[in-house]
Symmetry: C2
Subunit: 511 residues, 2 copies
């Protein structure tokens, strides 16, 4: 049997766009090939509360009916409305006629609003039996007697650097046991914080991987289920996957929201130096604008490093000192600040003035701001709310500081794209004289180790101490993580790269 895996990047609720994408793929496909699209290919995903609106189902039905005018054989995902209930569904169409439906039974976090359906469906096609359904329902199907010649799974799997390996490892013994080849079709692309994995594949009945689509990119992959060639995987290193994921996340955020220009503050530090590289890769240098906002506490190397970044990349940049605005704010606040010790209030003012100026430019020219907060900072609240945490999208908010350095070094593997000085110097917020991050925080290698154990592995205090970290450091870090939860409810939503993205996967009580 000939099958085409059509790994596409639909836009949420843009039925017309997705319809055109699917129609184009059908027109291009071989006459005798069954074309398989991902879960919710017609509507895009996640749908969130759009599942509650009848308009969603009306548009879906209308475009689905038009699709059937293509006299082709295909499977595609769409939301359907039946007898007052809403289902996440897959339609099997043969020669333009609806032949069978599968409705998702085991609903996941994105299926809010859908009713639990029937799971896998068996269908006769070209004298063979196909079992088709959602990945979430595969285990239920495999528990029953398997009568199919081939299994087709559609899904919307989220990216993490470990996703694909974990999926293949878990699937292999099940498929070996079932002795039935499986085709898994994923979507790719990003929607808001969510990055989808792509990497659709064909796995042989013996559990060997036979063909695989690329990570992240749209692709058509031709399968002949009779052929049993083996695919030799050479997965990208973790940091490279995350780099491409961040670039994709930025690109899709801007393209899908029809925003052309990206703005970001360039401090001369490593975070903004990395993000500007990601942004230029995603949007082109002509669409990225850097803003340097030096204060009286900025060191001269901060300014020269930031300028070096901008010049190396060839982007437009502007320098706007914040001293006058800081003084104006201090003058206004003088009646209240008078007689009180300097504290975090003065530091935060500077960050918020930077936010104010960047947002002012963004509003004036119709650009969107890229947030440059990393996961380590976000976790311990090292950053000013309504200042550092501003932005339309958090680009590295699910990337630890130690990974920010690693990614930067990888970017510089052949050539100094990021100033080496930004990579090697001690991190500083430069909000008071001679300030260093380590004045308030442990060294980042210790911090990130504790955060990884606590956030990714859900280790409690004692379990982290048992890993050899001293109790005072553990207590300090866990306290910072706890008391800064409230901030994470108001920061720019970050591109998700793990199963513990702060504010997305991991939410804790505020009180």
């Amino acid at each position: 049997m000939k099958i085409t895996i059509s790994q596409i990047n639909p836009k949420t609720l843009d039925f017309k766009y997705n319809f055109t994408l699917i129609q184009q793929r059908l027109k291009e496909s071989d006459v005798d090939s069954l074309v398989v699209f991902p879960e919710l290919a017609l509507s895009g995903s996640p749908l969130y509360d759009a599942t509650k609106y009848t308009q969603t189902y009306e548009e879906s039905l209308s475009f689905a009916e038009t699709l059937s005018q293509e006299k082709k054989d295909f499977i595609f995902g769409l939301p359907i409305h039946q007898n007052g209930e809403f289902f996440n569904s897959l339609a099997f169409v043969e020669n333009g006629e609806l032949k069978a439906l599968s409705t998702k039974k085991n609903l996941n976090q994105f299926d809010k609003g859908f009713t639990s359906g029937e799971g896998f469906t068996l269908v006769e096609y070209k004298k063979q039996t196909i079992a088709f359904g959602f990945l979430e329902d595969l285990d239920d199907y495999l528990k029953k007697e398997d009568k199919a010649n081939v299994i087709i799974c559609c899904s919307n799997i989220l990216f993490t650097p470990e996703t694909q390996k974990k999926l293949l490892t878990e699937l292999q013994p099940k498929i070996r046991k079932a002795k039935t080849p499986i085709i898994l079709v994923n979507r790719c692309g990003a929607e808001g914080s969510y990055i989808f994995n792509g990497s659709s594949f064909f796995m042989l009945a013996n559990g060997d991987l036979s063909k695989q689509s690329p990570l992240f990119e749209e692709n058509s992959l031709q399968i002949d289920t009779e052929k049993t060639e083996k695919y030799n995987q050479s997965p990208l290193p973790r940091i490279e996957k995350m780099y491409h994921a961040a670039v994709l996340g930025i690109r899709d955020y801007f393209h899908k929201n029809n925003i052309k220009k990206a703005l970001l503050g360039l401090s001369g530090g490593i975070d903004s130096a990395l993000v500007v590289v990601l942004a230029v890769e995603a949007l082109g240098k002509e669409n990225v604008i850097g803003i340097l906002l030096p204060s009286e506490y900025s060191t001269s190397h901060s300014i020269t490093d930031a300028e070096a970044s901008a010049k190396k990349l060839g982007i437009e940049y502007h320098t706007i000192p914040i001293k006058e605005n800081f003084n104006a704010a201090l003058t206004a606040l003088q009646p209240i600040f008078e007689g009180k010790e300097p504290n975090v209030a003065e530091e935060n003012l500077q960050s918020r003035i930077r936010g104010l100026i960047i947002m002012g430019i963004a509003n004036k020219i119709g650009a969107a701001v890229l947030n440059t907060t990393n996961k380590s900072e976000l976790a311990v609240g090292y950053g000013t709310l309504y200042g550092d945490t501003n932005g339309a999208i958090g680009t590295i908010g699910d990337i630890y500081k130690t990974d920010v350095w690693e990614m930067s070094k990888w970017i510089n593997r052949n050539e100094e794209i990021i100033p080496w000085n930004s990579i090697t110097k001690a991190p500083s917020a430069e909000l008071r004289p001679d300030q260093k991050d380590t004045d308030s925080l442990p060294d980042y290698d210790v911090l990130d180790k504790v955060l990884f154990l606590h956030l990714e592995q859900s280790k409690s205090r004692q379990e982290i101490i048992d890993e050899g970290i001293d109790p005072q450091t553990v207590d300090k870090i866990l306290r910072l993580v706890k008391i800064n939860e409230w901030k994470r409810h108001q920061v720019a939503p970050a591109l998700r790269m793990s199963n513990s993205a702060l504010g997305i996967d991991r939410i804790m009580p505020i009180s």
Copy 2:
């Protein structure tokens, strides 16, 4: 059988506090009374991802064991860890000995991390049979043959003005059919955005309500299941319930986070005039500070109305004109703004300067900022991100503008507490000369009607037009709701008063 309904207000993850609260109630209770506490009484709720940490279960077990030293009979909720799985559980303790457990089967949105358990449990107690379990599992229990003399349900029901009526109306026919009296024990109080309903009750086997605890407040209610007296409900009007809910939400936010002082901007408009009344009621006038931040576009009545508010309530207030800060920002931005038409950028700068100054004061004196954005504004994005939308907690973010007026009039029913001028004048953001909200938005009565149909009743475009609203107005409003979704991911979390709280219950795709 004598039962004490112990409606308490636990603090999330403050096991020691909750333990003391429960212990105190047990000490006060009659020797022959079974004392019933709400779901997760020992841990508080929602637990969010704290369910993933073994520390949560260790603390829970340790305090539960200490509780059993009270040689009393009681039922209380706690998270438990059994054979590597986590359950939302109820423990039935008789004379200090654990007699039975019920583990929640039908998990809800707050039960992330828990495994589905066994549902209701039957237990013999004082020669009678008690069926006890979670409200979510009641329907499953009632489907089986009911053998109990009394049903005891524990729960954590969220407040909306309609919650209690809906609950009683749905329960009544089920209880009439089962012919078994039921006791339902809810928690009260607020945690972050969530306000819990309280209103625990005893319903007779004939479906009549016999006793009921108050909305929102902690309370002990004595029940004798042999007595069949009927309770005459006189529920508060909707707007009064919402008033008390907002006051409770503010009070619990500050008390549970150990924050004493609240700050808010006073514009002379109705929203801040209402919120300052709520804050004074919640925290006392000595803990509320108003900041007047007039600009060159502020009308004289704005200042006099804001001052009148502050003086009437007897709170500390300060006036800080923003003109110099606005000019400093415009000067800094001049190289970029030059030659471009004035637009929303200049307006937003003023709002963000206000936010900067209020946050500066908050950071200096260790206060938290009350956000004053209402639901109508939040829905259509009428407000500046990182300015108007700032705050630790959104006080009226789930209250429509038309309800803001109604609540204000109710507050003034006997005496002018809110300046009548703030209530009657046309709403204006005062960010440019002679600006009115209606320059950008339809009248609030039309806006709120469309929003109610769209948000609370999930009506699509055509269904709203069919209700008699003109298509242009509907399109304009739905477009604003859609394109401002991204802002709602970064605003102060609002106290929840409906099943469609923006950013809490209702989340939509950003793109």
